[in-house]
C-alpha cells in the first residue's frame, strides 16, 4: 500500500470499550500500525452483548477495524516485562482503564518513560488524573450529565435528555487522537515523548461550549428548548409523510437572510407569502410563528422527508431528513462518497461499517476487518521483538499469551 499519513507510527493499544478504541481506530485509518494488546480471551467488549453467542460482538467490530491483535497477560510479571519490551519499540501507548489500574500494574507514565523516553503515553479518564472527582468512574452518559449537554437537550417542560450520539466516549477518542498527533509532531523536534491526558467531562464541555452563550448574557443557565430555534421560522423538525417515528425533516431558514426565505416560499409553492405583512422579516415571522408553521406543516405532511429535503436542498434552504440508523447505512450520499465500507470478517461474514470520517487526498483510509483475539500475536512478537515461533510457543505454553 502507498504511504499513508501516519506510516511508521507504532501504537500499543491497551484500550477497551469505546472512548479509547475509537482513538486508535482513527489513527489506524490514518496509517499507524495499531497493535491491540488484549488479555487472554480478548478485550471485554468482544463479549458485550454478542448478537451471535461466541462471536465477536458488533460493539467490538465497529471500533476495532484497522488494528492487529496480540493477547498478553499483564497481570503476570513476565507478561508485563514483555509489554515493556514492546514499549521500548513503540511510539505511542493508549489506555482508558479505570482510575488507578495502570499504577497498580506498575505501568504508569514514569515507568514507561524510563524504558522509552521517546514514548507518548495517552491516558483517557472520566474526570482526569487530578481534581476532586478524579477517582469517580464514568461512562458516556455520566460525562454527558457532568459536561452540561444533558441539561440543554430535550423539551422545556420535560426532564433533561441524553444526546443519542456518544459524544462522551467517541468524542473523547477523537480529542485524544488529535493530542497524540500533536505530541508526535513535537517529538520530531525535541526527540522526547510526553504524557497526554484527556477527561471525558471536559470533552463534553468543549463540544457544548457554543451553548454557554446564555450564561454570559444574563448569568442564567441555558434552557432546554426542544427542537425550536429561537427566532427561526421555519426552524425545527417538521412532520412528514407517512407519519412514522422518524418521518421528520429539520428545516431552518437563517433569520438574517431574507433571500433564503424567498427561496423557501418559492420551493413550497407559496410565493404569495412574500407580500404577506406577517412575513416582512424574521421578527414578524417569529411573532406569527404558529400560523406560519401550520402552513409549512401542511406542505411537509403531504411529502416524504426525502422529497422535502430534495425540494429544499436544491433551493438552497438548509434541510435534513431525520434519518434513522438503518437509513444511514443505506443513505445514497454516504454510499456515493464511499463512506460506508463493506468488510469481510473471519467469523461474522460481510459487514457494512462507516469508514474514516476524514479524507486526506494523499493518504487513503481503507477499512480492514477487526482482528480476532490474538490473531497477530506470533506475527507481532516476531516482527517487533524478533521472537521465533518456538519462543512464542513457549510463552504460550506458560499461559502468558492465553
Amino acid at each position: 500500500m502507498a504511504d499513508r499519513a501516519l506510516t511508521g507510527m507504532r501504537i500499543l493499544d491497551l484500550t477497551q470499550f469505546e472512548a479509547g478504541t475509537t482513538c486508535t481506530q482513527f489513527l489506524g485509518w490514518l496509517g499507524a500500525d495499531v497493535i491491540k494488546i488484549e488479555p487472554p480471551g480478548g478485550e471485554q467488549s468482544r463479549r458485550n452483548r454478542p448478537e451471535v453467542p461466541g462471536l465477536d460482538a458488533m460493539f467490538f467490530l465497529v471500533f476495532n477495524a484497522n488494528k492487529r491483535s496480540v493477547t498478553l497477560d499483564l497481570k503476570h510479571p513476565d507478561g508485563r516485562a514483555l509489554f515493556l519490551r514492546l514499549a521500548e519499540r513503540a511510539d505511542v501507548v493508549v489506555e482508558n482503564f479505570a482510575p488507578g489500574l495502570m499504577e497498580k500494574l506498575g505501568l504508569d507514565y514514569e515507568r514507561l518513560r524510563a524504558v522509552n523516553p521517546r514514548l507518548i503515553m495517552a491516558r483517557i479518564k472520566g474526570f482526569g488524573l487530578s481534581g476532586p472527582y478524579h477517582e469517580y468512574k464514568s461512562f458516556d452518559m455520566i460525562a454527558q450529565a457532568t459536561g452540561g449537554v444533558m441539561s440543554v437537550t430535550g423539551f422545556e417542560d420535560r426532564e433533561p435528555v441524553r444526546c443519542g450520539a456518544a459524544i462522551g466516549d467517541t468524542g473523547t477518542g477523537i480529542h485524544t487522537a488529535a493530542a497524540i498527533m500533536a505530541a508526535y509532531i513535537q517529538r520530531q523536534r525535541t526527540g522526547r515523548g510526553q504524557l497526554v491526558e484527556v477527561a471525558m467531562q471536559e470533552v463534553v464541555a468543549n463540544l457544548v461550549r457554543g451553548r454557554f452563550v446564555d450564561h454570559y448574557r444574563d448569568g442564567r443557565p441555558s434552557r432546554r428548548r426542544g427542537n425550536e430555534i429561537t427566532g427561526g421560522v421555519p426552524g425545527g423538525a417538521y412532520p412528514c409523510a407517512p407519519g412514522g417515528l422518524n418521518d421528520y425533516a429539520y428545516i431552518y431558514v437563517q433569520t438574517m437572510n431574507q433571500d433564503m426565505w424567498r427561496a423557501f416560499v418559492a420551493a413550497i409553492g407559496r410565493e404569495d407569502l412574500v407580500a404577506d405583512p406577517r412575513c416582512a422579516d424574521a421578527r414578524t415571522r417569529w411573532e406569527h410563528r404558529d400560523a406560519l408553521n401550520e402552513i409549512i406543516v401542511a406542505w411537509t405532511r403531504t411529502r416524504t422527508k426525502h422529497e422535502v429535503m430534495a425540494a429544499l436542498g436544491k433551493a438552497g434552504v438548509p434541510c435534513g431528513a431525520v434519518l434513522d440508523t438503518g437509513e444511514l447505512l443505506d443513505d445514497p450520499h454516504l454510499n456515493a462518497r464511499g463512506q460506508v465500507h463493506t468488510i469481510d470478517h473471519a467469523t461474522r461474514g460481510r459487514l457494512r461499517l462507516p469508514g474514516c470520517p476524514v479524507r486526506l487526498s494523499a493518504s487513503e483510509a481503507p477499512t480492514t476487518p477487526p482482528p480476532l483475539a490474538g490473531e497477530h500475536t506470533a506475527e507481532v512478537l516476531g516482527e517487533v521483538l524478533g521472537l521465533s515461533a518456538r519462543d512464542v510457543g513457549e510463552l504460550r505454553a506458560r499461559g502468558l499469551l492465553g
Binding site: 450529565a145 500533536a182 510526553q194 464541555a205 462518497r337
Partner: protein, 397 residues
C-alpha cells in the same frame, strides 16, 4: 514555553463554529493561527452578538489564542496580500458554503500552485462527490442526516436535537485530526494535501456505537429517553430541590456496582439476588428499580447524591447546567474553566483545552478584536504604516 505545534502557521478563513473550533484547537496546541476576516468581521463575531457593535460571546468562546487580521479577498490588492500570506503558511482552513473558495479563485489547484507544501482543509456539510454535495448544512441539519436526532428524545416524543456542537465542533475536531496527520505525512513527503470533512460523516462517526442494534435486528435504533434497553439501572433520577436540572444520572454496568448501589439505597437483598445480577435481566424490573433509586435521590441534592454514589464507585453524574459547568469545582481545580479578561467585555469564565500535553502547556489567550493584529502580521510581510493606512482607507483591510 514549549509547544507541540510551534512554528506551524495556520491561515484561518473560518466562520461560525465548525471551522473556528478546529483552528482554536490548533492554536491551543501551539500553532500560529492568523484569522482572516472580511473588513466588517466574520458573521460569528457580528451577527450572533447580543449587543450591537460588541463581539459575540459565541465568537469569544471559539476564537481564543488566534491573531486577528482583516482583509477583503474580493479586492485585487487584498487578493495579492492573501497570496503572499499563503506562501508563508503551512495550513489553510475554511468552512465557507459549497463552491465559495472556487468562486474566489482559491480552489485547491490555485492554492497548491502558490505553495506546494500547503495543507488545505475544508469543512463542509455533506462533502463533495455525492447527491447532497451542494446542499447547505448547519448543526441541526447534520444531526438529522446522521441519525443523531432519530435516537435522541423520549420514546413517546418526536426526534430531538442534541444541544451540543456535535456537527460543528465535532467536525472541527475531526478536521484538526486530518490536518495533524497531513503535517506528519508532509515531514516524510515534503508536500501538502487536501483535507476534507463532512459534518454528516463526523456525526455518523460519533454515533457508530448505536448502529450495532441495527446490525442485530435490521431495525432502526429507537428513542429511549434516558433509559437503555440493555441495562438497568441507567437513567436520570430526581433530586432536591427539584429544579429543571436537579437530577443525577446513574448507570450500573457491573454486578459490583449494582451491589454497592443496593447497599447505599438500603436494599442489600437485591444486590445478593441472582435474578438481579445481570444488567440485562434487571431491565425486567426497570420501573421498580427506578422507583427505588429515586426514593433515595429525592431526599438529597444532586451534589450530595454524586458524592455518595460516585465516591463509592457507582458511576454517577450530576446533571450540571451551563452555569454549573462554568463554576464546577472539579473543572476549576483542573484549570478547564479559566478566567479571561476582555478589553470590552471584562472578565469572563472560558472553557479551556480538554486535551493536556505534559510538554505543551495550553496558554489561554482571549479572542482577538477585529483586525487587532493587522500591523503585526502585515508588517512582517513588509507593509509599512503608510501603506496600511492607505489599505485601510480603501477598504482592503
Amino acid at each position: 514555553m514549549p509547544k507541540a505545534l510551534a512554528g506551524i502557521r495556520v491561515l484561518d478563513l473560518t466562520q461560525y463554529e465548525a471551522g473556528p473550533s478546529c483552528t482554536q484547537m490548533l492554536a491551543w496546541l501551539g500553532a500560529d493561527v492568523v484569522k482572516i476576516e472580511p473588513p466588517a468581521g466574520e458573521p460569528g463575531r457580528t451577527a450572533l452578538s447580543d449587543q450591537r457593535g460588541e463581539d459575540a460571546w459565541f465568537f469569544l468562546l471559539l476564537n481564543s489564542g488566534k491573531k486577528g487580521v482583516t482583509l477583503n479577498l474580493k479586492s485585487p490588492r487584498g487578493r495579492t496580500m492573501f497570496e503572499r500570506l499563503v506562501t508563508t503558511a503551512d495550513v489553510l482552513v475554511e468552512n465557507m458554503g459549497p463552491g465559495a473558495m472556487d468562486r474566489l479563485g482559491l480552489g485547491w489547484e490555485a492554492l497548491r500552485r502558490l505553495n506546494p507544501r500547503l495543507i488545505a482543509a475544508s469543512v463542509k456539510g455533506f462533502g463533495g462527490g455525492g447527491p447532497y454535495a451542494d446542499y447547505k448544512s448547519f448543526e441541526w441539519i447534520a444531526q438529522a442526516m446522521a441519525g443523531a436526532m432519530s435516537m435522541t428524545g423520549a420514546p413517546d416524543g418526536p426526534p430531538t436535537k442534541a444541544i451540543g456542537g456535535l456537527a460543528d465542533t465535532g467536525a472541527g475536531l475531526h478536521t484538526a485530526i486530518g490536518i495533524l496527520a497531513a503535517l506528519v505525512q508532509r515531514q516524510a513527503t515534503g508536500v501538502g494535501q487536501q483535507v476534507e470533512v463532512a459534518q454528516q460523516e463526523a456525526v455518523v462517526n460519533l454515533l457508530r456505537i448505536h448502529l450495532r442494534d441495527t446490525y442485530a435486528t435490521g431495525k432502526p435504533v429507537p428513542r429511549q429517553g434516558n433509559r437503555s434497553v440493555n441495562a438497568a439501572p441507567s437513567n436520570i433520577y430526581r433530586c432536591r430541590p427539584f429544579g429543571p436540572n436537579d437530577y443525577v444520572f446513574v448507570h450500573c454496568a457491573t454486578v459490583e456496582m449494582w451491589k454497592t448501589l443496593t447497599k447505599i439505597v438500603g436494599r442489600p437483598e437485591l444486590g445478593d439476588d441472582p435474578g438481579y445480577a445481570d444488567r440485562r435481566d434487571r431491565v425486567k424490573y426497570i420501573d421498580a428499580i427506578d422507583d427505588m433509586i429515586e426514593a433515595w435521590t429525592e431526599k438529597r441534592t444532586k451534589q450530595e447524591a454524586l458524592e455518595i454514589l460516585a465516591g463509592a464507585g457507582v458511576p454517577c453524574g450530576a446533571v450540571l447546567d451551563s452555569t454549573e459547568v462554568l463554576s464546577d469545582p472539579h473543572l476549576r481545580a483542573r484549570g478547564m474553566i479559566v478566567e479571561l479578561e476582555h478589553p470590552r467585555r471584562g472578565r469572563y469564565p472560558m472553557p479551556a483545552n480538554p486535551v493536556r500535553l505534559s510538554d505543551s502547556p495550553t496558554e489561554m489567550v482571549r479572542a482577538p478584536l477585529l483586525g487587532e493584529h493587522n500591523a503585526e502580521v502585515y508588517g512582517a510581510l513588509g507593509y509599512g504604516e503608510a501603506e496600511l493606512d492607505a489599505l485601510r482607507r480603501d477598504g482592503v483591510i
